[in-house]
């Protein structure tokens, strides 16, 4: 039972983390120019084809639009159905700048922690390992 709850929490945590970072990635992408949904996905996942459930960007786009950070416009495509293009608003540019700055700081924190020397007591290290193992069962 404990383990089910733990697994559920983990999933939730990863979703939260992903959402925040994806939001920043979308803003970053749009700061270089306009995009439609599919082109955003392609740009974000890049050449390496990072595992990304493409549909998840749409709720985020919807929320960003509602917050007035991005705006959209339908445009005819030379081939196929029209595309909905998104661009950053002024408010969105500002938000992107602030979020990126914050992200750099946070990334630096994570990097610092990773560089930390090994703990003196081997027990602690062992505990960390056992937690990791348990997570893999999920």
């Amino acid at each position: 039972m404990y383990y089910i709850v733990f697994g559920y929490n983990m999933e939730n945590k990863i979703t939260q983390l992903r959402k925040g970072i994806l939001e920043l990635a979308i803003l970053g992408c749009l700061s270089h120019g306009r995009h439609y949904g599919y082109s955003l996905v392609k740009t974000i996942s890049g050449e390496k084809n990072i595992d990304l459930t493409e549909g998840t960007i749409y709720p985020i786009l919807g929320r960003l639009a509602k917050e007035g950070l991005i705006q959209s416009e339908w445009m005819e495509s030379s081939q196929g159905p029209p595309r909905k293009y998104y661009t950053l608003t002024l408010k969105g540019e500002e938000a992107h700048r602030l979020l990126e700055e914050e992200f750099r700081k946070l990334a630096a924190i994570v990097a610092n922690v990773q560089k930390m020397p090994e703990p003196d007591t081997p027990d602690i290290a062992l505990n960390v390992l056992s937690v990791k193992k348990e997570m893999n069962h999920d």
């Binding site: 949904g37 599919y38 929320r63 495509s77 029209p82």
Partner: protein, 224 residues
């Protein structure tokens, strides 16, 4: 629907979009159409981008990468609820809080009967509230009208109306009564206005509860 595809591929896409539409029920119609159009465009672009292999395999791969309709919608739900909640005033938040505290606990049979009891009580309260408001408006206006008529024909409705003299001057007395009656009618109108706010709050609470119950059911149903 012509969706830019043909044969079995078109059917698969139609089926996906129909499921998406189903999941979007309850959203403003314009939002629904817009999102369906956007997802359709996504499917088309993604399909076109990978032109190798069997068409059916390709479309299935495209939809797999896109995710279930629930993925496209899921996080829209709570945000729709958040904006709904923003319009409400503090008292309704409190009411919502109390009710959610009661319902948030997984519903047993006891919980269910409690819920029913609360719902019936709320409905009765709403009815009483509106009847009260209408009585105030009707009573206020009628009294004002009767008093106004009595200015011109002092004996009007004398057998039924017994005007208690608040001040000794009968003219001033009549004016006072008219103002008082209008105030009462105004109070009734005020209650009606309050009622619309209250209804919004209650609607919000019920929608929220509905979501909660639906989600908890989903969680129980899903394999852990």
């Amino acid at each position: 629907m012509t969706n830019g595809f043909s044969g079995p591929v078109a059917q698969i896409v139609d089926n996906y979009l129909a499921r998406l539409r189903k999941g979007l029920k309850g959203f403003p119609p314009q939002d629904q159409e817009e999102l369906v159009k956007e997802i359709h465009s996504h499917i088309y672009e993604s399909f076109r981008n990978d032109p190798s292999g069997n068409e059916v395999d390709r479309i299935l791969k495209v939809l797999d990468k896109l995710g279930e309709p629930g993925v496209v919608i899921s996080t829209r739900m709570p945000s729709a609820m958040v904006t709904l909640g923003k319009k409400k005033k503090l008292p309704f938040y409190i009411l919502a809080g109390v009710l959610i505290a009661l319902f948030g606990v997984p519903l047993g049979l006891g919980g269910l009967s409690l819920a029913l009891g609360i719902i019936i009580t709320i409905l009765a309260l709403i009815m009483t509230f509106y009847i009260g408001a209408f009585s105030l408006i009707l009573g206020g206006w009628l009294s004002a009208l009767v008093m106004a008529v009595r200015i011109f024909s002092p004996g009007f409705l004398d057998p039924w109306v017994n005007v208690y003299p608040i001040v000794s001057d009968p003219a001033l007395n009549t004016v006072l009564y008219i103002v008082g009656s209008l105030l009462i009618a105004g109070m009734g109108l005020g209650f009606l206005w309050l009622g619309t706010r209250m209804m919004r709050g209650i609607r919000f609470v019920f929608r929220f509860l509905f979501e909660k119950i639906k989600n908890s059911r989903k969680r129980v149903g899903a394999p852990a």
